[in-house]
Amino acid sequence: MLSQGKCKSQSIPLGSQVANSYDPPVCGSREGGIATPAGRTESAVKMESMIEVRDLVKVFGSFTAVDHICFSVPRGGIRAFLGPNGAGKTTTIKMLTTVLAPTSGRIRIAGHDPVRQPMLVRRAFGIVFQDPSLDDELTALENLALHAALYGVPRKEQGQRVESLLGFVGLWERRDDYVKHFSGGMKRRLEIARAFLHQPRVLFLDEPTLGLDPQTRSHIWEFVKALAKEQSVTVFFTTHAMEEAERVADDITVIDHGKIVTEGTAGALRQATGTASLEEAFIALTGRSIREDEASPADRMRMMRRAWRGR
């Protein structure tokens, strides 16, 4: 039996019959709440989930950024993680990717614990960060070689993998160019190729299409979907572009004020809120108030970068 959680993901004022039509989170089974769907025992759900989060909490001082959240993403699933600014998305991703220690709760990435087995977890996932994380002073090839060395990609396979990934994202011809001469979209494509280089089982994308034009955005998602399917990679991404979430994701998890508000397909969310689009459903679920974030050093650096590089 799973431990008793305090996850309150179903506490939103949705019609109960609608809530039942959702794919409930694994830990939704406590508090006499929602039963697991027929034919899937909890252990089966657990076995096939690539990302499993239970009762995850992160407290900064007196502020609870993430408050007893629960969800799981099945193998090969594509999950959108939506929420207003400051809802706890990035904090959650940081905990899932071993760079931030949770206050309490349980995480499993491909069956491993980020707190106790960080190296196994890091080997199992690839990530595309919100901000570019390439070395501008190196070429595309050198950036990939660096990644391959850090992840211990076998040298024999490295060349072939690099060539096919760069070819796939359309950068093979530019492989010897410095990344500083790349456009925002090219950098993103390179980062996606890089994230797949060590053949991860889970791919995290934190607002991967921020600031890109619609053509590039659609391309980026084509690459991600095709590569994820080919290597049966589980995808977990955040975005503010609702149409992307609707088009790309199998399921959507909505977080606000550190709590999971709801979870389900885009259709189920629209239906539950009686709205016509996911955007309206999102606003219905998270309210209309604008969230103010304090500028972090990273934000200031982003602004400086824009000012200096005209981008």
Binding site: K94, L100, F125, L134, E137, G152
Partner: protein, 248 residues
């Protein structure tokens, strides 16, 4: 091991590609060499201390090394703000390997910088007496390079942005340089200053280099190596501890 090597290589590539940085960081030592080396020469000779250029050249080389070293370490801030650091933080590599790769890379770069200053000193008229002792001088230069790059790495792991950089330069690096035996001999210094200079680890490095270049070899060289080596090891430990506390 592969991770340490690739991060070391990265520092070298970045250095070799940034000609502006290479030339820019030569400006200061060059200025000191020309202004002090030739300017103080007559006074120094009149005081009966011999050739000042001969005396000050190791100090100027040290200057090239420590400034490049600290800057190379502090580059972590740059990497953090431009995002590359995250790539290394989520990689399945121990933090120690990252620190080692970066620090050894930065140290190699600053050693190269020191060697360029060495060549410039030769052109300016600096002469070494026993070329066979050159490797010993190199050992000292390498130790100074590692020590100061590790200091830079430690500082870079703690600072959030480059705004503190000036502070570090003016209140740590400059004093370490000026309150050492790089520019003047220890003998005859007033008491308190003498104590400060002797407590300064840089003094041991400069003393070792000076001795190796001038052809003297003695027991105090061992002391110099031990002090520098021990301190470099400690600083490497401190910097990897501080680095491991970075949360992306």
């Amino acid at each position: 091991m592969r991770a340490v090597w690739i991060l070391w290589l990265r520092q070298l590539k970045r250095y070799s590609r940034s000609r502006a940085r290479m030339i820019g960081s030569l400006g200061q030592p060059l200025l000191f060499l020309l202004a002090l080396g030739f300017g103080f020469g007559p006074v120094f000779a009149r005081a009966g201390n011999g050739n000042y250029l001969e005396f000050v050249a190791p100090g100027i080389m040290t200057m090239g090394i420590i400034f490049t070293g600290v800057f190379g370490g502090i580059e972590i801030i740059w990497d953090r703000q431009f995002g590359f650091l995250k790539e290394t933080l989520v990689a399945p590599v121990p933090r120690l390997a990252i620190v080692l790769g970066r620090t050894l890379g930065g140290a190699t770069v600053s050693l190269l910088q020191g060697l360029i200053v060495f060549v410039i000193c030769l052109i300016a008229g600096f002469r070494i007496h026993h070329p066979a002792l050159l490797p010993i001088a190199l050992v000292f230069m390498a130790l100074i390079a590692i020590l100061f790059t590790a200091i830079g790495t430690a500082i870079g792991s703690v600072l959030r942005d480059m705004q503190g950089f000036q502070l570090i330069m003016n209140f740590l690096v400059m004093p370490l340089f000026f309150f050492s035996n790089a520019l003047f001999p220890v003998a005859g210094l007033p008491g308190p200053l003498r104590v400060v200079v002797l407590l300064n680890p840089l003094s041991y490095g400069v003393a070792g280099m000076r001795q190796a270049f001038s052809g003297g070899i003695g027991f105090d060289m061992v002391t110099d190596v031990v002090v520098l080596g021990a301190l470099a090891t400690v600083l490497l430990g401190v910097s990897s501890f501080l680095f491991s506390r970075i949360e992306a």
